[in-house]
């Protein structure tokens, strides 16, 4: 009898508990989208089906979009992104601005139509103005014209800029800007070259 009562109480409690859990997590539209996408896509070239799976940053920024995500989970994700940043092994932030210009112009990389043997571009001009000579620039990101000239090239500025190229989502979690270092889109040397494009006094960005 005693155990029967306990069982009844337990059964009665189950729907309440699970109902509360569902309410707390909201209908997870990321999970719903993923289940449809898994049957709607197929691996091609270098783009495998694993690319459909979200990491924590992607999930956080999708779940509430177009609204900004809540503060508490955001702080954790931002901290994790910041922690993933690796500074240049030799301590040198600046490479060759000419190579950086080519990387900024190059739009291919990581698409299933791209040659995986070829280094990815940064495609900076897709979203940013940099060199005044290149008028075909996008406006999703701010203008970076005279980036180094306006800011100088002190250590803290170099470090901050390196961080932002490496993982902008350690600063603005849901920014449109890819995490070029953390996601392995650009190599350390390529990021150095883009840094030089931004800071070198001879770079057309600073003319």
């Amino acid at each position: 009898m005693h155990s029967l009562i306990r069982l009844v109480i337990l059964l009665a409690a189950v729907p309440v508990v699970s109902g509360a859990a569902v309410h707390a997590t909201q209908p997870d539209r990321n999970a719903q989208a993923l289940s449809v996408m898994k049957t709607s896509f197929q691996a091609k070239g270098q783009a495998g089906m694993d690319r459909l799976n979200q990491d924590k940053t992607q999930a956080l920024c999708s779940l509430h979009a177009p609204a900004a995500p809540p503060a508490e989970p955001t702080a954790k994700v931002v901290a994790a992104n910041l922690a993933s940043i690796k500074l240049p092994a030799d301590g040198k932030f600046l490479g060759d601005w000419k190579r950086g210009q080519a990387i900024a112009e190059e739009g291919t990389g990581e698409q299933y139509s791209d040659d995986p043997a070829k280094p990815s571009g940064g495609n900076c001009y897709a979203c940013h103005e940099l060199d005044k000579q290149q008028i075909a620039y996008g406006t999703i990101g701010p203008s970076l014209y005279r980036y180094g000239k306006n800011r100088g090239s002190s250590e803290p500025i170099l470090k901050l800029t390196w961080d932002m190229l490496y993982d902008m989502k350690g600063y603005a979690v849901c920014t449109a800007m890819p995490r070029f270092g953390s996601k392995g889109i650009l190599t350390e040397q390529q990021i150095k070259d883009v840094m030089a494009l931004l800071f070198d006094p001879d770079s057309p960005v600073n003319k």
Binding site: F41, A47, L52
Partner: protein, 278 residues
Amino acid sequence: MKVKSRQLMWWLAIGGAAASSFAASLVWAQSDSGSDPVAEYRAMFGDDNPAALWVMRGQGLWQEVRGPKHVALATTCDLGMGKGIIKGAYAHLPRYFADTRKVQDLDTRLLTCMVKGQGLDQAEILKNRFGDGDRKSDIEALAAYIVDASQGVPINLPMQHPEEKRAYELGKAIFFYRAGTHDFSCASCHGQSGKRIRLQSLPDLATAGKDARDTYTTWPAYRVSQGEVRTMEWRIGDCFRQQRLPELKYGSEAAIDLTMFLAKNAEGGKMAAPGLKR
């Protein structure tokens, strides 16, 4: 596939002959036409659009008795308005069809009509789903013809059936779904108005409004850079390629769900397709 002037003259000649039935107008996604490199094409084409050729070919395919079942789409194919009725059909798609128990867009509904209705081979049709020069797509031709018959008709989705509502909600979730090496979602490029990538204007497709209407109502479209008429299936698939995701399957649920979301945001906009795009 570049547009050559020799081909252009041919288009103009044929376009003139077909002018009575062809009402496609030039519609441009770009708002800053001053810096629009495609503007040259507008001047070249005048009031004409190479999609006229697809419209004519599609009309033939629609009316012709074809396939093992010896029937014409014009007498058997129901695009949601009744058998053979094409006027306004595109403006009310995607929608739920009781016979397939699925929400379908124009491409997948045409496929149903050709395979189930006419008995044509699905694999054969899909092999040429995206035309390439001499390898012509029947679906793209039919889509051009059918959408042309909706010129001026406002987008208005039934959105009554639970599956239609479900498709919209899933389409919205997919639109905002960030993934892949670059963390992109559809909203990364199409979440705000007045921005551009390189020189290309980016319409805001995340919310109902003018951008969403102007964009959706001008597809399917003759794509100058492709030299072909393309439907939304192609357009969405190519966006996912640039999003660094795997390949979107043609006619898949995600493609239709997303089309439903885009169509809903375009409601009230008057169809003006086939359009003409860069």
